[in-house]
């Protein structure tokens, strides 16, 4: 019954992670927007634009090959920024963050449990979209460029998780959470070439999107999936921008993340 063993941090984190996963899969909206919708969009975009060719650096590329990294980007952003921003705003406003601080659980473990959940779902979606692209549309799986893909998943997830926490600072209430995150992310998907090939976007839109992390995440994934990429597919410039955004997000989150309800 009574044990006096000190809980190790890793076992606490795994414990918390187990319940966070459970809660993620029980939230229909989260599952739809993070898991179902990206797969649906892959199917839709390839069905509609499948015979077109997009252009990358002046070279033609099959639309299906273009959309796999696009949809991977959508899934990653959804599993991290969107998911964390909405979840933590709700947890904050419902007072669950405040509640958990009355327990001996180290606060950062509670945050890390959700980050781990987001990371696992990110990896799952990258694998799922890549596999579907390969099996259904014959899009080749990066092998030579695997380091580029792996590094993008790593840097992208870290940066986007930090940005998700930062975003809770500008969301005033539970009800505003989905609206605020979508109002920010939806235009960025369009401007960043995730939905509409980059080469068909006006120059100003591309330059504008280059300020924000979504385009850099997408370009990093694209260089891993693009058969014309030479070398290991590591897009250092884009990864650098992602990292910078991640650090910015971490600083904002450290300063502005709240544990108690605003409302």
């Amino acid at each position: 019954m009574k044990t006096s063993t000190v809980k190790s941090t890793s076992s606490l984190l795994l414990h918390q992670y187990r319940y966070d996963q459970k809660q993620f899969w029980r939230e229909p909206a989260a599952v739809f927007f993070t898991v179902v919708m990206p797969l649906l969009f892959l199917f839709l975009f390839v069905s509609i634009f499948g015979n077109d060719t997009a252009e990358v650096d002046g070279r033609p590329i099959k639309a299906s090959t273009y959309y796999v990294p696009g949809i991977v980007t959508l899934a990653v952003v959804s599993a991290t920024i969107v998911n964390l921003a909405i979840t933590f705003t709700i947890l904050r406003e419902k007072g669950l963050l405040k509640r958990v601080r009355s327990t001996p659980l180290p606060p950062w473990v509670y945050l890390a449990g959700r980050v781990l959940t987001a990371t696992v779902i990110t990896v799952l979606m990258v694998v799922l979209v890549t596999a579907l692209g390969r099996i259904v549309y014959g899009v080749s799986v990066p092998s030579r460029t695997m380091p580029g893909l792996a590094l993008t998943v790593l840097v992208g997830t870290a940066a986007c998780c930090a940005l998700g926490f930062a975003m809770t600072a500008i969301i005033p209430s539970e009800n505003a959470a989905p609206a605020v995150t979508n109002a920010i992310m939806l235009p960025l998907y369009f401007f960043s070439g995730v939905f509409i090939p980059d080469s068909s976007l006006p120059e100003w839109m591309r330059s504008f999107a280059s300020i924000f992390p979504v385009r850099h995440l997408f370009q990093s994934f694209l260089s891993a999936f693009d058969p014309g990429t030479t070398g290991a597919g590591i897009a250092w410039d884009h990864l650098g921008m992602l990292l910078a955004w991640g650090l910015f997000g971490a600083v904002v989150a450290a300063k502005a993340f709240r544990w108690t309800p605003r409302g």
């Binding site: 019954m1 009574k2 006096s4 414990h15 459970k22 007072g95 009355s102 327990t103 001996p104």
Partner: protein, 319 residues
């Protein structure tokens, strides 16, 4: 910490340090002073009720004791430590029920309790705790499907799962129907049998009267009365309230001179008389009525209840 040396002697065998010691506690929010110099001690194993109208400073005080808020001034010791800078292991010993319900809607009570149990080194058993709060039939439903009373029970169960020595319950029955309140009271009374110390805030005097070993009445950030519920009543033990209806056609000024100036209206034709010499005043009153050949409608004499004391002290702003 440097609490006052006076340890209130209690009849119990273990002469322990008080669980909570507060002296000269103050808390300001900008210009506004929410708590203005509180002193109190809570002894091990007692249910201590913090009673006061909304806005009296109850939640501010309890959140300082729980470690959520920083105090502006004064000394606070909870389980021998400053709650705002708790030493390792302190949170293992404290259970908290916040004023609003705080439950993850997508888990079941059993899952929520198992999750919280994992945060503690030596938690209570999950099944046993579910049993204790009477949630056995609802244990595997989603939390969002539970009734208000069941959700509050789960909230209390979460505070208990770490097997704490001290429990804070902030207005645990606000918004309950009478049946749910009764069963919550039973649950809280059971906590005393488990040897827990309970710090309860409430704005219901019947709740304090029913549950508490000791009560402090708070008004405008100050304690205006403190003691056992019976003693609080007895503060004015010398006082009796006599009420009756004025006979038709007569007014207060027709009463005997010794009484006429002292009665005050109590609604409709009823008047009340507060007296420290009930026997003499009643004799004068009834003698006068018999002499006039009138009946005093609904004549009664009673000791002030805790409610009367409370309303008197808090200036009727409670309800």
């Amino acid at each position: 910490m440097s609490g006052p040396p006076a340890v209130t002697p209690v009849g119990s065998a273990d002469v322990a340090e008080p669980v909570i010691t507060v002296s000269g506690l103050r808390k300001s929010y900008g210009e506004r002073e929410a708590v203005r110099g509180l002193d109190l001690t809570v002894d091990r194993g007692e249910i201590f009720a913090f009673l006061g109208p909304n806005g009296a400073g109850k939640t501010t005080t309890v959140e300082i004791l729980e470690g959520y808020r920083e105090r502006t001034a004064g000394e606070v010791s909870v389980l021998g430590a400053d709650p705002h800078h708790p030493p390792g292991g302190w949170r293992e010993r404290v259970g908290v029920v916040l004023q609003e319900l705080r439950l993850p809607s997508l888990l079941t009570p059993r899952e929520t309790l198992t999750m919280y149990a994992g945060y503690y080194r030596s938690p209570r058993g999950v099944d046993e705790t579910i049993e204790l709060v009477g949630l056995a039939e609802a244990a595997d439903q989603r939390n969002s499907k539970l009734s208000g009373g069941q959700q509050r029970r789960l909230d209390v169960a979460l505070a208990l799962i770490g097997d704490p020595e001290l429990l804070f319950l902030d207005e645990p029955t606000t918004g309950f129907d009478p049946a749910a309140r009764r069963s919550a009271w039973e649950l809280i009374a059971n906590l005393r049998d488990l040897g827990k110390t309970v710090f309860l805030t409430t704005h219901y005097m019947d709740e304090a009267q029913h549950l508490a070993d000791r009560v402090a009445i708070l008004k405008d950030g100050r304690i205006v009365a403190q003691g056992r519920p019976q003693e609080l009543g007895r503060r004015e033990a010398a006082v009796t309230v006599v009420t009756f209806g004025l006979p038709p056609g007569l007014s207060a000024s027709d009463l005997p001179a010794a009484l006429a100036g002292r009665v005050r209206p109590a609604g409709g034709r009823r008047v009340e008389l507060i007296t420290e010499a009930a026997t003499r005043d009643l004799a004068a009153l009834t003698g006068w009525a018999v002499g006039q050949g009138v009946e005093l409608d609904g004549l009664e004499a009673h000791r002030p209840s805790l409610e009367d004391v409370y309303l008197e002290l808090t200036g009727n702003q409670a309800l």
